[in-house]
């Protein structure tokens, strides 16, 4: 199993998300989210690949929350965690002020955690995220898995996910998940699947591009 750096993972995840149809701004979120999960040794590239495969070719409007009341759902079945997570971030002021947001049917929910993790750090507030038997506490500096296991985080779908504010006064409990910067092990298949999605953002060579792309004279050998 080869090891990959966080930068390699982020860059490829961003391209892959774009290749699978996300806008560049959302693809950046997907890249950062995958990096964040990888840096905490949580299910990362596999989770993103599950999402991209599941939503490949689907229309954005079928994956987004239809409205921003307290219960979010998608018209096309399940919410995309990158779209929903980004909206949670953008509207974090609502959650912080005490509202609970319920998301009905979400694909690959772990990808919401990084986006809220970053929001928590930036805002200085905490969040609690719950789905199925799992509970994650996110504070500006720390992350705790209070209920459930790390492998539970890798699930492809949950029918209900809840996000609420977290009081930082109370002591946080659970398994602390720490950030580690070291090479991330990935299977060859995971890496090649990621590259396949990423490859959709590349432009095949044409006669014109071979002549012009890098600038006149660039194709010459350079023995001076």
């Amino acid at each position: 199993m080869a090891h990959y750096s966080l930068n390699e993972i982020e860059a490829s995840a961003r391209k892959a998300a774009r290749g699978a149809g996300m806008t560049w701004g959302l693809a950046e979120e997907a890249g950062k989210a995958t990096r964040w999960l990888a840096a905490r040794e949580l299910p990362n590239v596999t989770t993103l690949l599950n999402l991209l495969t599941r939503n490949d070719g689907k229309d954005y409007n079928s994956l987004r929350p239809q409205d921003l009341s307290n219960i979010w759902s998608a018209s096309g079945g399940s919410l995309c965690p990158i779209i929903a997570g980004s909206a949670l971030n953008d509207l974090a002021h609502k959650i912080v002020s005490g509202q609970e947001i319920k998301l009905t049917a979400v694909s690959c929910p772990a990808l919401i955690l990084p986006i809220l993790g970053r929001a928590s750090k930036a805002l200085g507030y905490g969040f609690v995220v719950k789905w199925d038997g799992l509970k994650v506490n996110i504070s500006p500096k720390k992350l705790y898995l209070e209920q459930g296991t790390i492998s539970d985080l890798g699930i492809k779908f949950t029918s209900n996910l809840f996000v609420t504010g977290l009081s930082l006064d109370s002591s946080l409990s659970g398994l602390e998940i720490k950030r580690v910067v070291k090479g991330v092990p990935l299977g060859d298949r995971e890496w090649s699947d990621l590259q396949e999605f990423a490859g959709r953002t590349y432009v095949p060579a044409s006669e014109e591009s071979r002549l012009l792309g890098a600038g006149a004279g660039a194709g010459l050998t350079d023995n001076d």
């Binding site: 987004r64 953008d90 750090k121 910067v181 953002t201 006149a216």
Partner: protein, 571 residues
């Protein structure tokens, strides 16, 4: 560890709409804040020592050498592989399969086992893998004629002629210097809290400096192999005049656009330095002498700046006239001004070309290390910490921010062909950024998000159509295509130098300006554009070698005075 630098006590900084124009950025020169110089100051200050414990290069020029750089807390190993490359395989392009030399900077003292591992991967470059014990990967090709010439002369017991060396300036040039997690290497996060790595590209600069050392040792060794009895070493001064060449193309161009906060931090440091100098109330005799000395050095260095590029050659000619004007204008004339350094700057702004103005900025910084050198260690950025969009922003807030910071972009008609003539894409064949012609080439549907101006104007139009009190969180849910720009607009509000104020897809775009800007921060000199899309430079030319660092001035080499009588005598 962030150091806070208070720029408020100094002069107002030059505004972004003045500094961030591409023609000005493309006229930047190295300064004392440039990364190469900052690295040298750090190594000297902390008494780093260097040795070469492994040298296994055979008569064909193949083998491995290891240099150790030992600091107060850590040691780094520069592992150098030399290869016997057939001439037809030598390519200056970033995409190639074989090189004359390949390199890796390893974290710690390298073991034989790791040398063996690297020997199976480093020579393959992109086709190999590294581990997170490696920090930098690079490769370099010979400047064949010059390399052979120097081997010949040294083997015959003669020194090479300085003028001949000056026409090229280096014996080898790198075609890529990779760091920060590429190909399995360590992420920057892993080393960013080390003192010697404070500031950008520190590991990369250390590696390039050691590559230069290897190349000079290598050429002397090859001369000894050719003629063991007669061979001599390079004269130390001639040796010092050799730098490391570098060819840089479009692959580097998107970097500044893709790292907006880093770009801001570089420019902000440089502008803060200028403002501090302009705010100084006096010009003492030492500083004046220092300034005049560097002016003379810079003026002389123009004679060694060779380029066949007509556009650049013309700019160098104008720069020569500018510096002549500055020499004739005695600095003494400004002595009695209320703020003498500011008076020189303002005179320059009125009288000099952009190349001249920005060279003047470099010169103004030169005498003032005490006031500004602290800025060199804050020129990095936490892009991740600033990634978040504040969705509670209203549409009307966003519109006014756009009008304030993107005025340069939003009034352009991007439907008009000249304003959107290019598109940026990543080539499947080369896996490198490229610039395509929208009208003539396929692939514009796969455009990379570097069309910042056009996309800002699109965001502006859709914001105007939205309700002014709508929050951005809701707007972006309806318009996910604007998410990237919305983030940049919010960043630019906090980091005004984050954005280049020019159309990066318009017909007037000169990509070399992007390259020149970045390379000037590295500390490169002798910019030699080979087209509007790639440029050759020289790095560490005239700098001390590792064994000279403790006994020489580490910081006066960027534009050295040439001892003309000596070079003529040797010619």
């Amino acid at each position: 560890m962030k150091q806070h630098v208070d720029s408020l006590k100094s002069f107002p900084l030059r505004p972004a709409h003045q500094v961030m124009k591409l023609d000005r950025l493309g006229a930047f020169h190295q300064t004392r804040l440039s990364f190469m110089r900052a690295v040298m100051r750090r190594l000297k200050r902390d008494n780093w020592t260097f040795e070469c414990p492994i040298w296994r290069i055979n008569e064909k020029g193949e083998g491995v050498a290891v240099y150790l750089a030992k600091g107060p807390k850590r040691t780094y190993s520069m592992v150098c592989f030399a290869h016997d490359l057939a001439p037809e395989k030598r390519s200056d392009r970033v995409i190639a399969e074989a090189w004359d030399t390949t390199f890796a900077l390893h974290d710690g003292i390298i073991s034989e086992k790791d040398i063996e591992r690297l020997s199976r991967n480093v020579p393959k470059q992109e086709a190999g893998r590294c581990l997170d014990s490696e920090l930098v990967l690079s490769r370099a090709n010979k400047s064949v004629r010059l390399f052979e010439y120097v081997v010949d002369r040294l083997a015959a017991g003669e020194q090479p002629v300085q003028e001949t060396l000056d026409k090229v300036g280096y014996l080898m040039r790198t075609t890529a210097v990779y760091g920060n997690g590429k190909l399995g290497m360590a992420d920057r996060d892993r080393i960013s809290d080390r003192e010697e790595m404070l500031g950008p590209f520190r590991a990369e600069m250390l590696a390039v400096w050691l590559i230069r050392t290897f190349v000079s040792d290598y050429v002397e060794q090859m001369a000894r192999y050719r003629s063991p009895k007669t061979a001599v070493k390079l004269d130390p001064e001639i040796r010092r005049s050799l730098g490391v060449g570098n060819s840089t193309g479009l692959g580097m161009a998107p970097f500044l656009v893709n790292h907006p906060i880093l770009l801001h931090s570089w420019i902000h440091a440089r502008e803060t330095a200028l403002a501090r100098v302009r705010a100084l109330p006096n010009m003492n005799a030492d500083d004046r002498t220092h300034f005049e000395h560097h002016l003379e050095c810079a003026f002389q260095s123009l004679n060694r700046w060779h380029t066949d590029d007509q556009r650049q050659a013309h700019k160098v000619d104008k720069l020569r006239l500018d510096l002549e004007k500055l020499r004739e204008k005695s600095v003494g004339e400004f002595l009695n001004h209320y703020l003498p350094w500011d008076a020189i700057y303002r005179w320059g702004e009125a009288e000099l070309s952009l190349e001249g103005q920005e060279m003047l900025v470099s010169l103004l910084l030169e005498p003032h290390g005490t006031e500004i050198d602290d800025l060199a260690s804050v020129m990095y950025a936490e892009e991740n910490d600033n990634f978040r969009i504040d969705g509670s922003f209203s549409v009307s807030d966003m519109l006014s921010t756009l009008k304030e910071h993107y005025a340069w972009a939003i009034d352009i008609d991007y439907h008009a062909h000249p304003n959107s003539v290019y598109f940026w894409y990543v080539s499947e064949e080369k896996l490198e950024p490229r610039l395509g012609s929208r009208a003539d080439e396929p692939g514009s549907d796969l455009e990379q998000p570097l069309s910042i101006g056009r996309d800002a104007s699109r965001l502006y139009r859709d914001l105007i159509a939205a309700k002014p009190d709508e929050v951005m969180g809701s707007f972006l849910l309806r318009h996910p295509e604007h998410r990237l720009l919305a983030r940049r607009v919010q960043l630019t509000q906090r980091y005004p130098y984050a954005e280049i104020h020019d159309n990066l897809i318009g017909e007037d775009l000169l990509p070399v300006d992007l390259l020149r800007c970045k390379l000037s921060f590295f500390g490169a000199t002798r910019f030699d554009p080979r087209s509007d899309r790639w440029v050759r430079i020289t790095m560490f030319q005239n700098a001390p070698y590792p064994h000279e660092l403790s006994s020489m001035n580490e910081d006066d080499w960027a534009y050295p005075l040439v001892n003309t009588s000596k070079s003529e005598a040797q010619g």
